[in-house]
């Protein structure tokens, strides 16, 4: 009896000690975590306005904030807050001054002279001059940087020379009519040459630029805190605020991957602006008061299905035409996207001045589809799937779950059902990104939907020139339709070399689009969706007409929460 009570006392003491040890760190962590959310009234003197904005992005968190490394859209989204470009684009697609005040191209297109704006400094004090341009071009072309998008855009740049302190001469290995468009992309932004000399780890954590904001801190999987650049002097030509720093003093750039949570946070006021708004959220927002929409389709190509014309069955034009006529895209887009987006019949995004709508080339006509397949020798089997020479009409369709939103995946399923009526057996496989790229690299696809964001119609060259069939060192290639047409190649090459006549260039791209439509190798769906939702109190937000990233320079003070 005595023993057991001694043991039980000791046991009880031990248990309490363990319990205390478990709870103590919790109490401490909750206490310290309590001070986290205090940016609500940062900097505002009056009681009823605030100058800290919370932005929620649904895109993946970048692995490196320097858009020179790799080069994807999430990097462009946040990078365009603290980095700027030599030139920008206005909403009519015209190139306008930004860090560069003027430019000229040589008659043979082999060199450009770019004059920089006076007195611009990076936030670390380094001056913006010709050497900065040279350092950035070299950084992008350096294999150690590992650039993908920016490097590709600068593929034809040979070297950068000094003309004077503020004038750089860019020498080309071949004329490139898309050079200025390339210089307007966030993946080709201008960073401080002093900062570029740091280790890649340091530059990835906080790149230094000339933008209206700068990186203060980055808590992984949580947020990046951006603070105002007090010495900001380099607004693009189409900004409202042409001088002075932004009104906002801080932006909390939060990573909220789940779309329902993101929208709930917007409704509750935790968040002021969000991106990647899904169709159901946009619909709900249009009914709700207090939330507005900013629809800013991405430039470059439209979202389209590409038919692999490099192998059977789509190497037969009749079969391609039949597939396109067998699916009712209009109905699918309207129902699945709930009227939040328009059908596109162009290879190019609707924000590109050179885009051409070609509704006649992409009609819905099931009867015609069946007739074409009969003519092409495909006979309907007992299960409704057509056969020819013992092979079934199988269409492999790898879909990347990282790139296709749920509404789009449902759209593909609807198209699959529609195509079945004509006798196509469309096999959709949902894959993660690396597996998807692998399937494409191995040519194991008949259909694919691969978005491509680029400034300007030069994207047609990347996607439809026959040189695009040749794989990059990683195995990736861009011409998924595998179209190989000498007339098309000639038009695209000519357009690329037409550096001094914008009208002629546009005309050439329009002719190129005619050929692409005739060949029936793509089925345009809609623009690359890019919807922002914002609380009504946010005034002055606009999407930069370069790659449709948000610009907070003109945003006024926000109402208090």
């Amino acid at each position: 009896m005595l023993n057991s009570s001694r043991t039980s006392t000791r046991q009880r003491a031990l248990l309490s000690a363990v319990a205390l040890a478990a709870i103590a760190p919790l109490a401490l962590s909750s206490c310290s975590a309590g001070g986290g959310d205090n940016g609500a009234s940062g900097g505002a003197a009056e009681q009823n306005t605030r100058t800290t904005l919370t932005y929620a992005t649904g895109d993946a968190e970048p692995e490196c904030l320097d858009p020179h490394v790799g080069g994807n859209y999430p990097q462009a989204l946040i990078g365009s807050q603290f980095l700027e470009n030599l030139v920008s684009r206005d909403k009519d697609g015209k190139i306008i001054p930004w860090l560069a005040s003027s430019w000229s191209v040589a008659k043979d297109g082999k060199s450009w002279e770019i004059t920089l704006k006076d007195g611009v400094k990076f936030t670390d004090g380094t001056a913006l001059n010709w050497e900065a341009v040279k350092a950035n071009v070299e950084h992008l072309q350096n294999p150690k940087t590992g650039s993908s998008t920016g490097y590709l855009a600068f593929a034809k740049i040979k070297s950068v020379e000094k003309v004077s302190e503020n004038v750089a001469k860019v020498n080309m290995s071949a004329p490139d009519s898309a050079l200025l468009e390339s210089f307007s992309q966030p993946w080709n932004a201008i960073q401080s040459p002093t900062a570029l000399k740091r280790s890649q780890e340091e530059n990835c954590a906080a790149p230094v630029g000339t933008g209206p904001f700068m990186v203060k801190s980055w808590t992984k999987q949580d947020r990046v805190v951006l603070t105002r650049n007090e010495n900001y002097t380099s607004a693009p030509a189409d900004a409202q605020k042409q001088s002075g720093p932004a009104t906002l003093t801080q932006i909390d750039w939060r990573f909220i991957p789940d779309s329902a949570t993101r929208y709930a946070a917007l409704q509750s006021g935790e968040v002021d602006v969000l991106d990647n708004a899904q169709p159901d959220n946009i619909k709900a927002a249009s009914a709700a008061s207090g939330i507005e929409e900013l629809d800013a389709p991405r430039p470059g190509a439209s979202n389209r299905l590409e038919l692999n014309s490099g192998q059977a069955p789509f190497n037969d034009q009749k079969v391609r035409e039949a597939f396109i006529r067998s699916v009712d895209v209009d109905a699918a887009v309207n129902s699945l996207f709930m009227g939040t987006t328009k059908r596109s019949t162009s290879a190019l995004s609707s924000v590109e001045p050179a885009h051409q709508d070609q509704a006649d080339s992409y009609p819905f006509d099931l009867e015609a589809a069946n007739k074409l397949l009969d003519e092409a020798g495909w006979v309907k089997g007992k299960d409704g799937i057509r056969e020819k020479d013992g092979k079934k009409l199988t269409v492999r369709f790898p879909v990347s779950t990282n790139q296709s939103i749920p509404a789009e995946q449902s759209l593909f399923e609807q198209l699959q059902a529609g195509a079945k009526q004509a006798g196509f057996d469309v096999k959709i496989s949902l894959l993660d990104l690396p597996s998807w790229y692998e399937a494409l690299g191995k040519n194991e696809y008949e259909l694919v939907s691969a978005p491509y964001t680029k400034v300007g119609p030069d994207v047609l060259r990347i996607l439809f020139h026959s040189s695009g069939i040749k794989p990059a060192p990683s195995g990736y290639f861009a011409n998924h339709a595998q179209i190989n047409d000498p007339a098309l190649d000639k038009l695209l090459d000519q357009a690329s070399a037409t550096v001094d006549d914008e009208a002629k260039r546009t005309e050439l791209y329009k002719q190129a689009q005619q050929i692409i439509a005739q060949k029936q190798v793509i089925l345009p769906l809609y623009d690359q969706q890019n919807h922002y939702l914002l609380r009504s109190g946010v005034k002055g937000l606009r999407a930069l007409p370069t790659v449709s990233t948000p610009s907070f320079l003109d945003v006024q003070a926000l109402p208090a929460k």
């Binding site: 968190e61 509750s268 990282n402 690396p434 790229y437 990683s474």
Partner: protein, 331 residues
Amino acid sequence: MSTGHGANAVMTKPGSGRAATHRKSWWVAVAVRLMGAVIALWLVATLAFVVLQALPGGPAEAALGGPGSQASAEALQAAREQYGLDRPVLVQYGHFLGQLMQGDLGTSYSQKKPVADVMGPLLAPTLTLAVWALLAAWVLALMTAMVATGSSRVAARLASALELVASVLPGFWLAAVLIIVFATQLGWFPPVSTGTARGLVLPVLALAIPLAGYLSQTMREGMLNALASPYALAARTRGESPWGLRVRHALRHGLVPGINLSGWAFGYLISGAVVIETVFARPGLGRALLTAVTGRDVPLVLGVTLASALGYVLVTIAADALVRLVDRRAA
């Protein structure tokens, strides 16, 4: 007459009495335990390494902005050389093990930082969520188990049904419902993690409720078994109240399986709370693991997997020790 070497004297070497044997066997037990842990960790590391090799898509692209990178051939070659990806697989494995034994988890391909630096800041939020979820689950489970073993048959039936339903609720659905009800409609809590205590409530509940369902079921089993035993009847005849009977006698029998289950649950929560972390936008090792697998960032995947395995091992040891405290029969 005799010097102690008689027939009645027991030959004893110093340090070989019953107490000494007990101490020696305790050390042996500890050593065996440690060996087991090391072997388990090695197996996990090897398995993860093998699986990653079998996945399609090359890890070199992870260092160049992700899959589908259009980086130059030189950049690709530079990345391959930097991370030793051009060497044979066995050599890579040997190098990886060698690094590991020196305590070096390698460098993340995609984030270009040491894996330890990537995982470090994620440990505190992950553990905070896990510990609070476990505590909340215990509170809920104890309450439900007490009712489920109580005298009111209707309440007991209801409690049992509640346990079952709770344990099968999908985490994603539960999280969405909690957000809609408590964040959007009632506005009591924020829909995303805010770094404050209020922002912790919904994610903790979303994890705790299904766990409480499991815990409660196991505890109820143990308690009901105890309540049906002869000594319980004996205690009742001594005048013990039903409540006291459950708390002072039966509860211990429910605690033991509960503690073992908690050990497993805590280990799981280290890298398994990825759905809740994603929905509530909380930093966590689960999310890091998912991103790393999608991007084929081999060192980071291995790092998180090993951390998770280590967590399981440590927590199992702790759970065992706790069980010995609670259950005197096991001591």
